[in-house]
């Protein structure tokens, strides 16, 4: 029996998209769909389908092997544990209403690693069978404990490749913090909620000037490549798009990772509307991307990008390159990355830590120093793929999409809700529809930006194949 592993979707702008299980795709008109339904495609169309691997004859063993290889190239190969998210303290010197982890007040005790926790973390690092390590310091505000960060960074010197990321609000920087930042292997991730007025309203209050001065000082000292800033957007009251872009570019920041308020931690209690995706968010996001395209075309001295859109784009065109954990498939839990909380508790993801902290569900996997790969770990991993799901099997975007079961638990308290009813699925459908709209947009400005976001040297005549 011949094999045609294609899925079909009518795009909002009129084309019909056909996506192979391996992610190869083309667009057609309505007439091709009609002929396919009637079983009478033109000989040229049949040849095209065969040549491009969309139609494989049953006796074609090499064709089947090539297809299987291409499908496999899209699957995550989580191997050795090489990525740790460490939370040396849950205390924070700010009190944002949508804090995702329900931080502890600055002077609270028992919210930092004890010396015993530190020892266990360092011993754990010694056991890792990898040549390269990435450590992300989360909080709370991790820079409140530079001593703990320094100890971890020193212990990581045995790895051939090291990368450290400090997620900091850049609120207070003293000598100890600057000494940490001086390490060339360390990167700084901070929050910048669009324009500074919004940032002030949502986060820093009267002390916004201090944050602004610190961000400027960090960029002056190290350059913008060392710093990433992420805006959290309230979809009900989003900041003006141009003012967000202007604020970022003023600091030399060209990658903007737009995020709606995450339905976690304090946000869960105080911003309940964040549970369900907001049409306004999709509209804002799309208008934002279109504005970037316009600005990139007018001023080609720099390339501005919305990070998540670029991630989705690379998932389509560059399988195996993009490891973004919220958008990979399968998305194994507690295999290649792990979270160690302020009290030594291990979690499969940072969002799982947030859920436990909010009292929603305990997704902890054990304590540092213990084997975490127990019953709960195995149960989570049973659900970590989008393969074999009846909705995903029918979805054109499955080869590019991921699986975020912790998000499903956060919103619905279960992992078996029908996928198309989840916020994750609805958001991904909208964003991939939009990405394909851009791919088939013939405007040279759009093609220029897409090519830059894909890190191509030139701009191809067309990124998307058409069967006409």
């Amino acid at each position: 029996m011949n094999f045609a592993p294609l899925r079909v979707r009518a795009l909002p702008q009129g084309a019909i998209l056909h996506v192979n299980d391996s992610g190869h795709f083309f667009a057609s008109g309505d007439d091709f769909v009609q002929r396919s339904l009637e079983g009478g495609v033109e000989p040229t169309e049949a040849r095209f389908l065969k040549r491009m691997g969309h139609h494989i004859e049953s006796r074609d063993a090499l064709g089947m092997a090539a297809h299987a290889y291409q499908v496999a190239s899209r699957l995550t190969r989580a191997d050795k544990l090489d990525y740790l998210i460490l939370v040396p303290t849950l205390r924070c010197n700010l009190s944002c209403s949508y804090c995702q982890v329900s931080r502890a007040p600055i002077n609270q005790i028992k919210f930092d690693w004890t010396p015993e926790h530190l020892t266990l973390v360092l011993e754990f690092l010694d056991t890792l069978l990898t040549d390269r390590i990435k450590v992300e310091f989360q909080g709370g505000e991790p820079t409140l404990r530079p001593d703990l960060i320094k100890a971890v960074m020193e212990r990581c010197q045995r790895f051939k490749e090291r990368q450290f990321v400090i997620c900091t609000n850049l609120h207070e920087l003293g000598e100890d913090q600057w000494r940490l930042f001086d390490c060339p292997e360390l990167y700084i991730s901070t929050s910048l909620d669009g324009d500074l007025i919004t940032h002030q309203r949502q986060r820093t209050g009267k002390e916004t000037n201090q944050f602004e001065a610190n961000l400027e000082a960090v960029i002056d000292r190290y350059g913008s490549d060392k710093v990433s800033a992420l805006p959290t957007i309230d979809p009900r009251n989003p900041p003006n798009i141009d003012s967000v872009i202007d604020t970022f570019t003023r600091f030399g920041l060209t990658s903007i990772f737009l995020r709606p308020i995450n339905y976690q931690g304090f946000a869960r209690k105080r911003h309940g509307y964040a549970r369900d995706p907001h049409m306004r968010w999709n509209e804002y996001h799309q208008n934002f991307v279109r504005k970037l395209i316009q600005r990139n075309w007018i001023d080609r001295s720099q390339v501005l990008e919305e990070t998540y859109l670029s991630v989705c784009l690379r998932r389509i065109f560059q399988p195996g390159i993009e490891r973004h954990v919220d958008l990979r498939n399968p998305n194994p839990m507690g295999v290649d990355y792990l979270v160690v909380d302020y009290d030594g508790t291990l979690y499969p993801t940072d969002e799982a830590r947030m859920l436990s902290r909010s009292g929603v569900i305990d997704l902890s996997l054990g304590q540092i120093g213990e084997d975490w790969r127990g019953e709960k770990w195995a149960e989570l991993n049973k659900h970590s793929t989008n393969q074999f799901d009846p909705a995903c099997e029918r979805c054109t975007y499955q080869p590019y999409c991921g699986r975020d079961l912790v998000d499903d638990i956060a919103r619905y308290g279960r992992v078996d809700i029908e996928r198309t009813q989840t916020a994750f699925c609805q958001r991904q459908l909208a964003i991939f529809d939009f990405v394909f709209e851009l791919i088939y947009d013939e405007d040279p400005a759009t093609q220029y930006s897409l090519s830059r976001w894909l890190r191509l040297d030139g701009t191809p005549a067309s990124l998307g194949q058409r069967l006409s």
Partner: protein, 81 residues
């Protein structure tokens, strides 16, 4: 509100039922009701032309899914092993 009434194919009853099931999930702007041998699609935001296009795409998707399902699973199972 746009409306589109289409004659159902007679030789793929099972495919039609599942097409309707999935169509309203993958295209939540549309609703669908069957009346005898025809289907009526409605939407507040889509035109009649768009509804017709969505129906044909969804039907082809379902028929191709049915035809390829077993081999698709064989490929994936082969990769898992």
């Amino acid at each position: 509100m746009a409306r589109c009434v289409l004659k159902l194919p007679m030789d793929s009853a099972a495919g039609v039922e599942m097409t309707i099931h999935w169509l309203v999930r993958f295209y939540p702007q549309a609703s669908a009701t069957v009346d005898g041998h025809s289907i009526q699609l409605q939407s507040d935001s889509l035109s009649a032309v768009q509804l017709e296009r969505i129906w044909h795409a969804a039907l082809l998707n379902e028929l191709q899914w049915t035809a390829a399902r077993a081999q698709r699973r064989d490929v994936l199972q082969g990769l898992v092993q």
